[in-house]
Amino acid sequence: MKYVKMFALAAVAVTALVAVAASSASASAKVCSTATTAHTPTTACTAGHGWVYQGKISAKLKTGTNAVLKATTGGGFVTSTVTCTGSESEGEVTNGTTGTGKLTKLTFTGCSSSSCSGAGGVTASSTASAATPWAATATTTIPGTENGNGIMDVSNATGQFTCDTGIFGHVTCKYEVSTAQPHVTGSDTEPLIVANAIILTTEPNQNSLCGAHASWTATYKVTTPSSLWVE
C-alpha cells in the first residue's frame, strides 16, 4: 500500500514536470525556413525545415480572398462591414531562435462598405510602422508539439477605418487589441498567416457604425521568405 502511494506521488510529480517542460517549450519557438539568404546563426531546424530564420518577413493577402473587418455590438449585431481586396504586411524576425520580431507595416487597399456610400468610400489603415512597430512572438500551436504551425502573439495592435457615409459625412472608427493571435501555417510552398475573426475592441466615444467590437479576418501568403515554419 505504501508503494502504491509512493508510485502515485511520483506519477503526479512527473506529470507536473512534463507540464512545466511543455509550457516552457511553448513560451518560445524557432522560426525556420529553407531560404538560404538570411539565417544567422546557422542553426538547423527539423529535417526539411531548413535553418533558423532571421530577417525580413513579408506577406500579401492570399489571391482570391479578402480582408474583412466586421463591426458588431457585444451581442453580435453587425453595425458595419468593411471588405478590402488588398492587404500587405511586413516585418522582421529579429531573433529566429526565440521567435521574436516586429511588424512594421499592415496596409489595406481596395476597401468598400455598404455603410460608406459617399464619394470618399472607405479607407482602412493600421498604426504598424517602422517608427511604431508592433512586437511579435511566435509560439507553437500546441505547446510542446512541433508540427511546423504556430501562433504569432502581436502586441498592442491598433487600426482604423474612415468611412464617407455620404449623407452624414466622414466617420472614423478606431480599434485596439492588446494581443492579436494570428495563426501561422507552415509550408514549403505556401506558408500562411491567418487572422481568423480576431476580436478588436472599439475605442470609446465613436459613431454607432463602429460597434462595440470588430472582428478581423484575413489570410496572408508569406512571400518572404518563400518557406516558413514555427517549431
Binding site: 455590438t73 457585444g74 451581442g75 449585431f77 453595425t79 458595419s80 455598404s114 455603410s115 456610400s117 459617399g118 464619394a119 457615409t165 455620404g166 449623407i167 452624414f168 459625412g169 466617420v171 472599439t202 470609446p204 466615444n205 465613436q206 459613431n207 454607432s208 457604425l209 463602429c210 460597434g211 462595440a212
Partner: protein
C-alpha cells in the same frame, strides 16, 4: 386499516403542498415581471445593463445605415449632412431615451448602489445635453461622460 388512512393523509398533505407551492410560484413570477424591485447583484446588473446598451447600439446603427441606404441618391455636402442629421436625430433620440429609461428602471446592485446610480445619472445628463445639441449623436460624443464611467464600472457594452 390505520395504515391505509395514514397513506391517504400523506397523499392529501402532498397535494396541498404542491398546490401551495404552485400559488407561491405564480405570485413570485408576476411580481418579477411587473417591476425590477428585487435588488440585483453587480453581475446581474452588468448583464442587464450591457444587454440594454447593446440593444440601443444595434438600433442606432440600424437607423444610421437605413438613412445611408435611403440617402444614397441624395447629394451630400455640408447642408445635405445637416439635413440628413436633422431627419434621423429624432429616431436616434428616441432610441437613446428608451435606453436611458430602461437603464434607470433597473434595480441597482446592493453592493455598490451609489456607483451604479451615478452612472445612470450621467446617462440622463448626457441625454439632456444631446437633446439640446443633436449633432453630438453623430460625432460619437453624445454619451462621452457616461461611457467613461460605465465602461470603468464594467458596462463594457455601453459604447453607444
Amino acid at each position: 386499516m390505520k395504515q391505509r388512512q395514514f397513506v391517504i393523509f400523506l397523499a392529501a398533505m402532498f397535494a396541498l403542498a404542491m398546490f401551495a407551492g404552485g400559488c407561491g410560484g405564480d405570485a413570485e413570477s408576476s411580481s418579477d415581471s411587473s417591476s425590477e424591485a428585487r435588488a440585483l447583484t453587480k453581475a446581474e446588473f452588468l448583464k442587464r445593463g450591457n444587454a440594454l446598451c447593446d440593444k440601443a447600439l444595434a438600433a442606432q446603427a440600424s437607423v444610421i445605415n437605413k438613412a445611408i441606404a435611403e440617402g444614397e441618391s441624395q447629394s451630400s455636402g455640408a447642408s445635405g449632412e445637416e439635413n440628413a442629421e436633422a431627419i434621423v436625430a429624432d429616431d436616434l433620440l428616441e432610441v437613446d431615451r428608451k435606453m436611458v429609461q430602461e437603464l434607470s428602471e433597473l434595480a441597482l446592485p446592493t453592493s455598490d448602489e451609489r456607483a451604479a446610480e451615478k452612472i445612470i445619472e450621467q446617462f440622463e445628463a448626457d441625454l439632456e445635453e444631446a437633446e439640446g445639441d443633436p449633432g453630438k449623436l453623430f460625432s460619437g460624443g453624445a454619451f462621452k461622460k457616461a461611457e467613461a464611467v460605465a465602461i470603468d464600472y464594467g458596462l463594457r457594452g455601453c459604447r453607444v
